[in-house]
């Protein structure tokens, strides 16, 4: 490298032996960058930043996670409840994955709009697609690890895609599973691969940046830099701009982490995996939805090719076709700014992608299948017909002579993020009960930015659980010691724990024995096991209530409504099987649990009048606490983080303005 000299002897000593400093200066400081990049060019660095967060949080999560099908679900809940800041690490990780995809999607669409895939940047584009494909695989593998219902059935469906291939398909699937169904060996290897692939992505990112630095950045005008007047050094101009972007991005990301951590997830994934029962409506993670729609669009065989194979091939083809893009679009003009027709088709393509995403999120209906088919056809037509045709026929606008001439205005960055966030969020609920849910008077106390649990309601809710619900249901993820948060004293907790017997042993004679529970023990169901519970309850197992609120869409209102949803006179036209009750809000109306909540079924220790509404509201408060014990810590930390980020981002914005004020 050319004549690097520092005043520092140690730096020079290292430099002579390993030229890291000149390399850094060359590629991170002096690196000439077009001076007209708009904010759409921030998303590459944002994605790299997010990748680092994902790897860091993932590493620390892995220290507490157990990749065993019998233990995985509970180990994740242990992270959420017992590991110091475990809930923060997990929510940073799961929401970080969604953020990573949003950023990368915007980054890809940016490339499509400004023609960043064209010569000489084809290889840069290819590496990018490879990153995207690896991300898809990593995201899928990671989603399996919590071993909830969606994890399990997602894994089953996605691995079964490979069975579509003739002859070898079934053997591939057996190989992927390491057995004859998705099971413990599958989980083990998925964990190993989920740990490996992010480092593969990291390597690909290094290649991506290397390729970028060889061909230099594209820019909104799509013309090459003509000379030094068009370029500015990367540092400080784009370092400060990227840092400012990180500040803005972190505020959006943290808003999800602290206030809507399960926004991108599915409630069903808080139900432990059950290989015997598929949830009524399963969806993949939101970032696969457009491709999922393409998969489902193929419903009839074509000559001798089965529909199943067609769907799978189309799904993979939809991504692989991106590799051919530099040749399908042979227009010499890169940027859509100067391609009036392409610009319109670009937006049509974006809208089409959202339509596909929407179709992928919803249960299949004839209408939606037709829409998916049209959208799928258009997706491929865009690449195979529209782009080649445009390349030949489109009248492009005259290109400016150099970058220094015009200035292209950036569009608001946040807009697309919001569209991405809300447009794709699929709700997988297929509640057959269509009645609008009841809401308690005055609402629940823990909503909103600063929401906290109403302590008195929490304690009353515990009393209701203890006196009524606990006769059939456990809250096995809650230990007696946790009841300190409900407001019980250590002595009360000891006394309550001692009421219950738990199995311990073996003792010195090798026999198991019962002993009174201690505060460290968990609040188990009164039945020895599920079979025993089912035998007593006519085949239905009273579910564990630890996560019941989190495992249902609109959980608090749903459970509240369910408890009060036993009308005195059930509608005559609904047939309820023998031994079941009618419940207005239960999917399918036929519920095993008889009505439990009546006025004065408990006598509150604090003298509150025990109306049935009051009882239901209180017990839902307790159950929400059981599901989200970290909620108060989460929200209060969130407020502090947001205040900090607002300050940092404001400073970075001011600094960026100072640094940039003489450019343009």
């Amino acid at each position: 490298m050319s004549g690097f000299k520092s005043n520092n002897a140690v730096v020079n000593w290292v430099e002579d032996r390993l030229p890291v400093f000149s390399m850094l200066r060359h590629s991170a400081v002096e690196y000439p960058t077009p001076k007209n990049l708009n904010y759409w060019w921030n998303f590459g660095s944002l994605a790299a930043f997010t990748l680092v967060i994902l790897i860091a949080t993932g590493l620390f999560l892995a220290m507490n996670y157990t990749p065993n099908s019998a233990l995985a679900f509970d180990s994740v809940e242990r992270i959420m409840r017992d590991v110091n800041y475990g809930w923060l690490l997990r929510y940073l990780h799961s929401n970080g994955a969604s953020m990573f995809f949003i950023l990368v999607y915007i980054h890809i669409f940016r490339g499509l709009y400004y023609g960043s895939y064209k010569a000489p940047r084809e290889l840069l584009w290819f590496i990018g697609i490879a990153i995207y494909l690896t991300m898809m695989a990593t995201g899928f593998l990671g989603y399996v690890l919590p071993w909830g219902q969606m994890s399990f059935w997602g894994a089953t469906v996605i691995t079964n895609l490979f069975s579509a291939f003739p002859l070898i398909g079934d053997s591939i699937v057996t190989l992927l599973w390491g057995g004859f169904s998705v099971d413990n060996p599958t989980l083990n290897r998925f964990f190993a691969l989920h740990f490996l692939l992010p480092f593969v992505i990291l390597g690909l990112v290094a290649l991506h940046v290397w390729a970028l630095h060889s061909v230099k950045s594209n820019n909104p005008l799509g013309i090459e830099m003509n000379g030094p007047q068009d370029a500015i050094p990367f540092h400080p101009y784009y370092t400060v701009k990227d840092l400012f972007g990180i500040g803005v991005f972190l505020m959006i990301y943290m808003a999800f982490v602290f206030w809507a951590p399960n926004f991108f997830g599915e409630p069903d994934n808080y139900i432990p995996a059950n290989p015997m029962l598929t949830p009524p409506h399963i969806v993949p993670e939101w970032y696969y939805l457009p491709f999922y729609a393409i998969l489902r669009a193929f419903t009839v065989d074509l000559w001798f090719i089965p529909a199943k194979l067609l769907g799978v091939v189309a799904m993979f083809g939809a991504i692989l076709i991106l590799f051919a893009l530099p040749w399908l679009d042979s227009s010499k003009v890169r940027s859509a700014t100067f391609r009036p027709l392409y610009r319109q088709f670009f937006w049509l393509f974006v809208i089409n992608a959202f339509v596909l995403g929407y179709c992928g999120a919803k249960p299949t209906t004839d209408f939606l299948v037709t829409v998916s088919q049209i959208a799928t056809a258009y997706y491929f037509a865009h690449f195979l017909i529209v782009l080649p045709w445009l390349s030949r026929k489109e009248k492009t606008l005259p290109l400016p002579a150099s970058i220094s001439a015009p200035v292209v205005k950036a569009i608001a960055v946040g807009a697309m993020l919001l569209i991405g966030a809300t447009g794709f969020s699929g709700t997988a609920q297929a509640n057959t009960a269509t009645h609008e849910l009841l809401k308690p008077e005055g609402g629940f106390s823990w909503g909103g930015v600063f929401g906290r649990y109403d302590r008195a309601a929490l304690k009353r809710g515990w009393q209701v659980y203890h006196e009524v619900c606990s006769n059939c249901h456990g809250v096995k993820l809650v230990a007696f010691r946790n009841l300190a948060a409900v407001g019980l004293t250590p002595e009360e907790i000891k006394a309550i724990a001692a009421e219950k017997e738990v199995l311990d042993g073996p003792n010195d004679e090798g026999a198991m024995f019962q002993r009174p529970a201690r505060p460290a023990d968990r609040i188990l169901s009164p039945y020895a096991n599920d079979k025993a519970a089912a035998a007593i309850h006519g085949g239905a197992v009273p579910p564990d209530l630890s996560l019941i609120v989190k495992a249902r869409a609109n959980g608090p209102n749903y459970v509240y409504s369910l408890l009060l949803g036993y009308p005195d006179a059930p509608p005559a036209d609904v047939a309820i099987p023998e031994g079941k009750m009618y419940n207005t809000y239960f999917p399918g109306y036929a519920i095993g649990m008889p009505r439990q909540v009546f006025d004065d079924v408990v006598t509150y220790a604090d003298g509150t009048k025990a109306t049935q509404e009051q009882i239901a509201k209180d017990v839902v408060t307790f159950l929400n606490w059981a599901a989200e014990p970290e909620l108060e810590a989460r929200k209060s930390l969130g407020v502090k983080v947001m205040v900090f980020l607002a300050l940092l981002t404001a400073l970075l914005f001011a600094l960026k303005r100072q640094i940039w004020k003489d450019v343009h």
Partner: protein, 184 residues
């Protein structure tokens, strides 16, 4: 700025100080924030709430005859519970404290002279010393012998010879009845 003396080149100088100030402020806030953000990662490696809660073990002493010892698990590590014979108690009490590397009288190491309860981890580098079984070597002082590097402990679990610096640790415990003890 109100500084009238420097009116000659206001914008350049102003811009420079303003820029320096912003750079310093933003870097400070950024570095402090990053530093604080590392804490949750580090703290996640500390013992979790459930681990901390599992800190008591109940031991039934009724079946242990004088001269016998049992090993129980407390917080994932062995605890030695030894029912000492009269001679063992006498020899533990008779020691001249000035001879000891880690001087402690036997009286402060036990709650009931018959029962010696110590954490069974050599204070040298963490091996489990021998001496619980009648067939084990117990060293010259009749307590425990660590096979790893030869530390020897007496009948009060005090270090007498070898590289270990400290006596075997005494865990917190209470007698919950005449024949049961709760460790932790």
């Amino acid at each position: 700025m109100a500084d009238t003396a420097k009116n000659a080149q206001p914008s350049a100088a102003d811009g420079q100080t303003r820029r320096d100030f912003l750079l310093q402020a933003a870097s400070t806030v950024g570095v402090v924030g990053t530093g604080i953000a590392l804490w949750p990662f580090v703290h996640s490696m500390n013992p979790a709430a459930d681990t901390l809660a599992l800190s008591t073990t109940d031991v039934d002493l009724s079946a242990i005859k004088p001269g016998q010892a049992i090993t129980v698990v407390w917080r994932g590590a062995p605890v030695f519970v030894r029912s000492r014979t009269a001679e063992e108690i006498a020899s533990a009490q008779a020691v001249n404290l000035s001879e000891l590397r880690d001087p402690q009288s036997d009286a402060i190491r036990v709650k009931n002279p018959q029962w010696l309860i110590v954490v069974g981890i050599c204070t040298h580098l963490g091996c489990v010393p021998l001496g619980q079984k009648p067939t084990d070597p117990r060293g010259e002082w009749g307590g425990w012998f660590c096979p790893c590097h030869g530390s020897q402990y007496d009948t009060s679990g005090r270090i007498r010879k070898g590289p270990a610096p400290k006596n075997l640790a005494v865990p917190a415990y209470q007698f919950t009845s005449d024949t049961t003890v709760r460790i932790g």
